[in-house]
């Protein structure tokens, strides 16, 4: 490496924080729960939209075949 190209770690803000295993475990206990809630809400909204259109629009339009 040339001297005029300093390492990225020369800047303190580019250096990763020390990982404390206990803190990581605590964070990992809530982050997947948030992902599950987000995915669950998104799927629930889609399913609710599908059911509403099926029951309130499609079925009342009558028989077809």
């Amino acid at each position: 490496m040339q001297s005029d190209q300093p390492s990225s770690t020369a800047l303190p803000r580019e250096v990763a924080d020390d990982v404390d295993e206990a803190t990581l475990a605590r964070v990992m206990r809530t982050v997947p729960l948030g992902a599950a809630v987000l995915a669950g809400s998104a799927v629930a909204l889609l399913v609710a939209g599908y059911l509403l259109i099926y029951i309130l629009v499609f079925i009342p339009r009558g028989t077809v075949g």
Binding site: E21, A25, M28, R29, A39, G40, Y54, V64, G65
Partner: protein
Amino acid sequence: MSDTHPEMHERWILQTELLWAFGVGVFIAATLSMILFTALKMSVNPPSNVERIDPKTLHLAGEFAEHNLGTTVGGDGSVTVRAIATQFMFLPRCIAVPANRLITLRFASPDVIHGLLITGTNVNTMVLPGFVAQVHTEFTRTGDLLMPCHEYCGLGHSEMWATVQVLPDSEFKPGPGGRVSCAQR
């Protein structure tokens, strides 16, 4: 769950995934049950009919000759509508049907692919030259419904539409040969 033991964490992830799979399984089962229920109890099915017809001669003789087009009430009381979808009109341009009776709609095309839907109902089909498109339905509300072509069929496509006149039983009176025309209003 433990903060430190990775095995416990794995187990918790597995439980979450199993719960998710259970939820998806319930949704799929509910959807399939709904489709089966509406198909068996309410006769809601995708229209399916494979019946060939020669597009070059269909207007000359047979079922789709001009004198056969429109609404016909059979001897057994069944109502059949026959119409031709052609560039750029439906023949006839107005179709009279009774409310609250099972109706058979039959369409054929002598030229290109057309399609149609009847607004406010689930009637929706393509009309392919060489095949008879058939849909069974029951109109529950009286009034005039728009029936546009919904498959681009050429420059005049946007002008291609017909009217479906849903009449109450008191106004649906078959004439000679069981023919019914649109009421003049």
